[in-house]
Symmetry: C2
């Protein structure tokens, strides 16, 4: 049986973001027009707050151990139109308008290759 907290989280109308043991949740950015997944990264509570306050996507870098604003160097920010949350509130989907290529490689999306056997093939 589900706990009252689980029921509230899954069926309720209150935003109760659930951060994991490292204080993070998963955040996916989707292009509002093409519906393409642009990138996925993590957010801590501070990055989520910054995102909601500014309307521009902020994340937490596990490798650098700090918050960053997507586009802070490149200018390719992600303007957030809408934030969706999943059933157990440990993951977000942001519907965004990108100011440029979302990937630091210059690709529109970070997902520019598909797996084929042990290899990778560019997505047509």
């Amino acid at each position: 049986m589900s706990s009252p907290e689980t029921v509230e989280r899954e069926t309720g109308t209150r935003f109760m973001p659930r951060f994991d043991a490292n204080g993070l949740l998963t955040a996916i950015a989707v292009d509002s027009v093409t519906k393409e997944i642009l990138m996925v990264a993590f957010m801590n509570a501070q990055a989520l707050e910054a995102t909601r306050e500014t309307g521009i996507a902020h994340f937490y870098s596990r490798s650098r151990g700090k918050q960053w604003m997507k586009g802070e160097t490149s200018g390719h920010i992600l303007k957030v139109q809408e934030i969706r949350v999943d059933c157990d509130q440990d993951a977000l989907v942001m519907i965004v308008t990108p100011a440029g290529p979302a990937c630091h490689t210059g690709a529109t999306s970070c997902f520019y290759r598909r797996v084929e056997g042990e290899g990778l093939v560019p997505i047509a």
Copy 2:
């Protein structure tokens, strides 16, 4: 400057999945027809291998500490058509055909609510 390994990972043609300190990577399931994001979860190496071998999405549950096949109880499996990988190879997008509602709540997608202030609103 990027290390040779980073360059190979980002621009190469070899699948080199990168698991984090807990042995996990992020895996997103997208409906092949509607392009809707159905769910997001984690995979360990074993779950990824099972997914690739069977063509059915498997994940790793952090709360239960074990691998699971999506749909093992409900029958609502996700048939994997294609797997895409992101620039640094620590996240996957699976293009899938769902056998039923992807969410255990009965919703088509786990992302059935959007954030509005401190509240949540069903997605139209």
